[in-house]
Symmetry: C2
Subunit: 118 residues, 2 copies
């Protein structure tokens, strides 16, 4: 968060550093995503076989929510979490792009060598 004064106004803004890459960086969050990929669950259900407090789970849920990876809907006293995994394509896109360039990394050299050979 950045706070400063400009033109006699208090300016406060967030540098949003939450993104999909950060969302899947934590192993617990990957487990949560895997669970939810099979269907909606409430927070207690998600935490069932995860050896940590429900509050810790709720924090991970909050992060995933902020990243747009899950959506919530209230059902009585329950918070039902539903996965929203279209965003994951951003990850595969980046990986595939890097991987592709890396696979072609010698071709450029080969072309250069072929050109200088003449």
């Amino acid at each position: 968060m950045v706070v400063f004064i400009f033109d006699n106004h208090l300016v406060v803004y967030m540098i949003e550093r939450r993104d999909v890459f950060q969302a899947i960086a934590d192993p617990t969050r990957r487990i949560i995503i895997s669970k939810l990929s099979q269907g909606p669950l409430n927070i207690t259900q998600i935490g069932e076989d995860l050896d940590m407090s429900k509050q810790a789970i709720a924090k991970h849920i909050k992060i995933l929510k902020e990243c747009g990876m899950i959506v919530m809907n209230q059902k009585g006293r329950e918070q039902v979490c539903e996965a929203q995994l279209t965003q994951l394509d951003e990850v595969t896109d980046w990986v595939i792009q890097s991987r592709k360039l890396w696979n072609q990394r010698f071709e450029k050299l080969n072309r250069f060598l072929a050109a200088t050979k003449k």
Copy 2:
């Protein structure tokens, strides 16, 4: 790092939390990987248009090295970094698996409904 005393011995061990998912979590490291995917570079070259100190770059390089995403080879006083991106498959594998389950998430429900309809 975990340090404790057991059976009159000082026990020190590392819980290795470096993995590919962590490696690509930071935007600077993703830029570094993208650069190196096109060919080897030394640390100074990597940091060229990145607005931060060379030491900061070196730290990211260290992390990527520890994750097995790059290999180094000395060339005089230069440390030449070369990408090693096969590990990225672990990421796509996980993403594709989750994405697949998520796409199929209604089929299970549909089968259930079809079965109970009879």
